[in-house]
Amino acid sequence: MSTHAQASATLPRRPTHRVRTALILAALIAFSVATCLPAIGGVEIDLESITRNWRNGASKLQQLAQPNLAFLPRTLGPMLETLAMAVVGAVTAALVSIPVTLWAARPSNPHTVTRQLVRFVVNIVRSVPDLVYATILVAMIGVGTLPGVVTLILFDIGVVIKLVSEAIDSTDHPYLEAGRAAGGTQLQINRRTVLPQSWPLLTNQWLYSLELNVRISAILGIVGAGGIGRLLDERRAFYAYEDVSLIILEILIVVVLIELLSTTLRKRLR
C-alpha cells in the first residue's frame, strides 16, 4: 500500500524517437525526389506544361463553370441506369457475401484448407482493378449495363468478404464453444449465432459498397459499361464542356446524397 500523499512520485521521462523520426522523414523525402527524376526512370513531372497550356485550360474551365441546365432531361435516364447498376450490384454481392464470408472466417470455418482456398480466390478477385474488369467484360459481352453490373459485383464481393471475414476473425466468439458443447453442427452454429452476431459488420460493409458503387459506376461508362459515364464520355468527345459540367455536378450531388443516406443508416446500426 502506498500513500498518495507522497510528493516524491514523478512521471518517468517520456521516451522520444527524434533521431528515428528524422531518419524516416529523410528517407521519405529522398524517395519522393528520386521518383521524380526521369534520369533514373522516375515519373516525369513537367511543370512547364501547366503554364504552356494555361490559356487553353482557362477557356475549358470557363465552359465548365457554366453547366448547361437545358441538358438535364437527357441525363436523367443514364443517371437512373447508373443508380440501378449500383443497387443491383450491391444487392447481388451482399447475397453472395453471406455464405462466402462465413466460409472465409476462421471461427465459422475451422477447416483450414477450404478457408485458405476461399481466401486465395477472394484475394485474386480483389487484386484486379475495377476498370480492368470493366474493359475485359465489355470486350467479352459487349457495351452496356451488364458488364458494369458484373464489375461492381466482383469489386463488392472482394471488399465485403475480405473486410468482414477479417473483422469476424479478430473478435471473440464465446458462444461457439457453447454451441459445440450442445452438440450443434458448424452450420447450425453459424446460422443461429455467428451470422446474427455479424449482421452489423455485414450491413455496414454492404452500405459502404453501395456508396462506392455509385462513384465507380459513374466512371465505368467511360470504358463502355453503361450509365451516366457513357454520356459523360460522349459529350466530352464532342467538346461539349457545358454538358460535361452538368453531368459532373449531378454525379457530385447524387454521390453526396447516397453518402448521407448510408452514413445515417450505418450510424443507426451501431
Binding site: A182, G183, R192
Partner: protein, 276 residues
C-alpha cells in the same frame, strides 16, 4: 416456480433414458504445447451425484470438465459417459452424446446480439433436424421445451430481450436454461459463479442444486471457493498439478484438506462468505 419438473414432463417419452454415470480410468491429457494438464485421473461418479472440483488456478479443473464432453480430447486412459466410450465417438455420435450433456461457463457464452429465446434454442441443436435451425423454424415442441426451461430459472418474461442487455446473473440463468433445454443427464459447470457478486453467486448455485435434486441430473461443477463447495455439493474432488489429491464428502472436507489441495495456507479469497 412449479414444484413439478416441467421440462421432462413436456419431453415425455422423448427424454433420453441414458444414465448420467461418468467413469474415468487413468485419464491423461497432454496439450499440444506439452503441458500435462491431467495425470492419471481415475474416478467414478454415480448418476445424480453433485460433485465439485476444486484446485488452484492451472490445476486442471477446466481440462477435467472439458474432457467429459470431448471439448478436450484425452491423450490416454478411458472415459465413459453412461455406457459410451467418449474417445471413440466422432461426428454424429459425438454430437448426440454432447446433446445430452449440458454445459455452463464462467463467461456465460451467449450470442449477445440475439434474443434470450434463440440462445436457449441452441440447446435443441442436437435434438432437432438441422433444416429447422437453418430456416429458423423451431418445432412447437422445441419452443415449448425452451420456454419451460426459461420458466424454471425464472426469466421467462425476458424471452424476447437481447441477451446482451441482461445482468450477469440473468445471463447465467439463460445459459442454464440453454443447457436444460438439452434435457441432459449430465450438467457440467466451469466456474459458473466466478463472474458474479456473492448474492447472485449463491442463487445460481441454488439453481444448480435444485436441478440436481429435482431432475436427478449428475452435476460436475468447478469451484475455487471452499465454502461454496462445502455448502452446495455432496462430493468433492481436489486437483493439484493435474493429479487427483482428494476425493470425499464435501461437507467433511477440513481446512487442512483444502490446504493440502492448494499446497498453501487458506487465504481470505478462498471463501465467498455471505451465505443467504
Amino acid at each position: 416456480m412449479t414444484a413439478s419438473d416441467p421440462i421432462t414432463a413436456a419431453a415425455g417419452d422423448l427424454a433420453p433414458a441414458a444414465s448420467g454415470a461418468i467413469t474415468l480410468r487413468d485419464v491423461t491429457v497432454t496439450y499440444p504445447g506439452g503441458t500435462r494438464a491431467l495425470r492419471g485421473v481415475s474416478l467414478s461418479i454415480a448418476p445424480g451425484e453433485m460433485v465439485s472440483v476444486v484446485g488452484l488456478s492451472g490445476s486442471g479443473k477446466s481440462t477435467l470438465i472439458r474432457t467429459i464432453n470431448a471439448l478436450v480430447p484425452i491423450t490416454s486412459g478411458r472415459l465413459l459417459v453412461g455406457e459410451q466410450d467418449v474417445s471413440r465417438l466422432s461426428g454424429r455420435s459425438l454430437r448426440e452424446l454432447r446433446g445430452r450433456i449440458g454445459m455452463i461457463f464462467q463467461g456465460f457464452n451467449l450470442a449477445e446480439r440475439t434474443s434470450v429465446l434463440s440462445n436457449v434454442l441452441v440447446g435443441r441443436f442436437a435434438h432437432s433436424p438441422a433444416w429447422r435451425s437453418l430456416l429458423g423454424l423451431p418445432s412447437a415442441q422445441d419452443k415449448q421445451i425452451a420456454i419451460e426451461a426459461l420458466d424454471s430459472v425464472g426469466i421467462l418474461d425476458r424471452a424476447w430481450s437481447r441477451a446482451g442487455a441482461l445482468s450477469g446473473g440473468q445471463k447465467q440463468r439463460v445459459a442454464i436454461a440453454r443447457a436444460l433445454s438439452q434435457q441432459p443427464s449430465v450438467m457440467l459447470a466451469d466456474e459458473p459463479v466466478a463472474s458474479l457478486d456473492p448474492p447472485t453467486a449463491h442463487s445460481v448455485m441454488q439453481d444448480l442444486l435444485r436441478i440436481n435434486e429435482e431432475r436427478g441430473l449428475t452435476v460436475l461443477v468447478n469451484l475455487h471457493l471452499m465454502d461454496l463447495a462445502r455448502q452446495y455439493t455432496t462430493r468433492m474432488i481436489g486437483l493439484r498439478d493435474g493429479e487427483m489429491v482428494f476425493d470425499g464428502p464435501a461437507a467433511d472436507a477440513t481446512d487442512q484438506d483444502f490446504e493440502a489441495i492448494y499446497g498453501r495456507p487458506i487465504q481470505g479469497r478462498d471463501v465467498l462468505g455471505s451465505a443467504p
